[in-house]
C-alpha cells in the first residue's frame, strides 16, 4: 500500500461568517503566505519520511482550500519534493479549458521528471457557480474533457477537436508529458456512472468524503465494470482520501485532537443558498445516485469514534492506525491512502513523521 500527503492549504485564521463564496472582509495576507509555506514544509517532510505522493486539489472562493489553481502549487512542489510523485486530485476539468489543463499537466510532468499523477475531477457542486458553468453539463463536459486531454497528450501531429462543449482548430501541445503513453489518470468515483466511465476509459478511481461501506460498494462496481471492459484494476488504481492523526499513543492522540478542537471551534462551509443547492441537484449533478448525497451528509454527523468506524478518520497510536488501515484495505482494496493532516503546527509534523516511519513500513506489504 502507498501513502499520499494532501495539502489542502486551509486558511487557518478567522474569517467572516457566511456560506460560500466566502467574503474576504476578514483576511490576512500574512496568514495566506504562511499557509503555502506550511504546505511546502509538510510536503518536504512527507517526501523525506517515505510518503509516495504529495497531493494538491482544486477548490474556489473559500478558505477551506486556497488552491484554485493547484497546478501552481504543484509547480512549486516539483522543486521542493525530490522523490515523491506530485498528485493533482484534481483539476476540475469540466469548468476549465481542457487544452490548457493538458499543457499544464505536461509541464508538471516535465518539471518533475515524470512524477505527475493527473487527477481529473468534476469538483464539488458549488464549483459550477465559480466559472458560471451549467451543472447539468458537468458529467458530459467531464467525459469530453478527459478524452480531449488524453488526445492532446498522445497525438503526435496537430489535430482539431469538434466537440460538444469545446472546439479547437489545431492542437499540438509543447512540452509533452514524460510518462508514456501519458501520466496516470484518476477520477472521482462515488457514483455508478463514474465507476462505469472510469472502467471504460481504464483510469484510476479516487474516493473522498464518503464512508467505508459506500466506497466499498462503488469499488466493487468499478471492478466489475472493468472486468466487462476486459481489464483488471491494480491496487494502485484506487485512492482513498481520509483525515489522519497519528499520536504517541491512543490516549495522547485523542487528547491532542480534543485540545485542538477546543482551541478552534471554527468550521468551514461550502453551503450555498438552499435555492442554489436545489437547482444543482435538479440539474442532475448527482446522477443516478442522488440518494448518496443525503447518506454522506448523515454519515458525517457522528462523533469521533463513529467516524473512525465508518472509515472517515484515522486516529490513534501507530499500531492502532495500522489496524484501521488494514480494515480499509480489506474492504475497498484501495492501494493508495490520500491523507489529510488532522491537526496543525508541530503536532501535524509529528503525526506525518510517525506515519512515515512507523505506519508506512507496516502497510507496504498489504498489496503483496
Amino acid at each position: 500500500m502507498k501513502a499520499a500527503l494532501f495539502s489542502p492549504c486551509t486558511y487557518p485564521g478567522p474569517t467572516a461568517p457566511g456560506g460560500w463564496p466566502t467574503p474576504t472582509t476578514v483576511y490576512s495576507s500574512e496568514i495566506s503566505e504562511q499557509t503555502f509555506a506550511t504546505a511546502l514544509e509538510h510536503s518536504r517532510l512527507a517526501d523525506e519520511v517515505g510518503f509516495d505522493w504529495v497531493t494538491v486539489a482544486e477548490h474556489h472562493f473559500g478558505p477551506f482550500c486556497m488552491t484554485p489553481n493547484p497546478m501552481i502549487l504543484a509547480g512549486a512542489l516539483t522543486q521542493a519534493v525530490k522523490r515523491a510523485k506530485i498528485a493533482l486530485l484534481g483539476a476540475d476539468i469540466p469548468i476549465l479549458n481542457p487544452v490548457r489543463v493538458a499543457e499544464e499537466f505536461a509541464m508538471l510532468d516535465t518539471l518533475s521528471g515524470g512524477r505527475l499523477v493527473a487527477g481529473m475531477l468534476r469538483g464539488t457542486p458549488n464549483e459550477y457557480i465559480t466559472y458560471n458553468v451549467n451543472p447539468r453539463e458537468s458529467r458530459a463536459r467531464f467525459e469530453e474533457a478527459l478524452q480531449l486531454i488524453r488526445m492532446a497528450w498522445t497525438e503526435p501531429e496537430p489535430f482539431g477537436w469538434q466537440g460538444r462543449y469545446w472546439q479547437y482548430k489545431s492542437i499540438s501541445i509543447w512540452p509533452r508529458p514524460i510518462q508514456k503513453p501519458h501520466p496516470p489518470i484518476y477520477m472521482s468515483g462515488s457514483s455508478p456512472e463514474s465507476g462505469e466511465f472510469a472502467a471504460r476509459q481504464r483510469v484510476g478511481l479516487g474516493f473522498a468524503v464518503t464512508t467505508l461501506p459506500l466506497a466499498a460498494r462503488a469499488a466493487r462496481h468499478y471492478r466489475s465494470q472493468a472486468a466487462l471492459a476486459g481489464w483488471t484494476p491494480k491496487a494502485d488504481d484506487i485512492v482513498y482520501r481520509i483525515p489522519f492523526y497519528v499520536g504517541a499513543s491512543d490516549e495522547r492522540a485523542l487528547e491532542d485532537l480534543e485540545a485542538a478542537a477546543r482551541a478552534s471551534a471554527r468550521s468551514f462551509s461550502l453551503a450555498l443558498s438552499q435555492g442554489a443547492e436545489a437547482a444543482i441537484a435538479e440539474a442532475g449533478y448527482y446522477g443516478r445516485d442522488e440518494a448518496q448525497r443525503g447518506r454522506v451528509a448523515a454519515a458525517f454527523s457522528g462523533g469521533m469514534r463513529e467516524r473512525i468506524e465508518k472509515g472517515q478518520m484515522l486516529l490513534g497510536s501507530p499500531r492502532t492506525v495500522i489496524d484501521q488501515i488494514r480494515r480499509i484495505h480489506a474492504e475497498i482494496g484501495a492501494g493508495v491512502l490520500d491523507l489529510i493532516p488532522g491537526l496543525s503546527g508541530p503536532l501535524a509534523l509529528a503525526s506525518i513523521e510517525r506515519f512515515g516511519t512507523q505506519v508506512l513500513p507496516a502497510i507496504r506489504e498489504l498489496d503483496t
Binding site: E144, Q147, L148, M151, E155, P156, E157, P158, F159, G160, W161, Q162, G163, R164, Q167, K169, S170
Partner: protein, 167 residues
C-alpha cells in the same frame, strides 16, 4: 450524406456554399449537396467524400485541382494505390480530414498516416462520433464542414462573434 445509392461516386458540393443557420441539422446540409457522379460543366466546386469514394475524390481533385475550392474527406484511410499516393504530395487543394473519436474502422490514429501523404491537410476529430460521422453527430459535422468550405484559407481562425447578446 444520407442515402447510399451512389456511394461509389464522389459527392460534389456546388460552391460557394450558402452559410446555413447555426441550428441547421445535417438534413439542411444534405439539401445543399448536389449528388453527382460528374463535375462536367462546373467551374468551381467543393468536394466531400466518404468511403468508399475517397480514392475517386482524390483522383478527381488531382485532375481538376484548379476547380476544387475545398476537399473534405470523411473518415478516410490512406489509399492503397502506390501511384495515387505518390501524386498526393503535389495536391495543392485545401483539404480537411475528419475522424470520429469512436470510429473503430478509421480511428483518429489513422490520421497520422494522412499527414505524411498530404502535409497541408487539416485533421479534425469529431467527438463522440463513430464511422458514420454525419449520422452520429450531425450538428458538429455540419458546423465543421461549412466552416471549412466557407473559407478554407482562414479555417484556423475563429471568426465567431463572442459578445453576449441580449434579445
Amino acid at each position: 450524406m444520407s442515402g447510399g445509392e451512389d456511394s461509389s461516386a464522389a459527392r460534389v458540393l456546388e460552391g460557394p456554399l450558402v452559410v446555413l443557420p447555426a441550428a441547421a441539422p445535417i438534413a439542411a446540409l444534405a439539401e445543399r449537396i448536389a449528388l453527382r457522379s460528374s463535375v462536367d460543366g462546373l467551374e468551381r466546386f467543393d468536394l466531400l467524400a466518404q468511403p468508399p469514394a475517397i480514392d475517386a475524390a482524390l483522383r478527381l481533385a488531382l485532375e481538376r485541382a484548379a476547380a476544387v475550392h475545398a476537399l473534405v474527406l470523411v473518415a478516410p484511410l490512406p489509399p492503397s494505390d502506390p501511384a495515387l499516393i505518390e501524386r498526393l504530395s503535389a495536391l495543392k487543394v485545401p483539404t480537411l480530414a475528419l475522424y470520429g473519436t469512436r470510429d473503430s474502422q478509421a480511428p483518429p490514429t489513422t490520421s497520422r498516416g494522412w499527414r505524411a501523404l498530404m502535409p497541408g491537410c487539416h485533421v479534425v476529430f469529431v467527438y463522440d462520433a463513430g464511422h458514420d460521422l454525419a449520422a452520429d453527430q450531425p450538428q458538429a459535422f455540419a458546423d465543421i464542414v461549412l466552416d471549412f468550405v466557407r473559407d478554407p484559407a482562414a479555417f484556423l481562425v475563429n471568426r465567431r462573434d463572442g459578445s453576449v447578446r441580449y434579445v
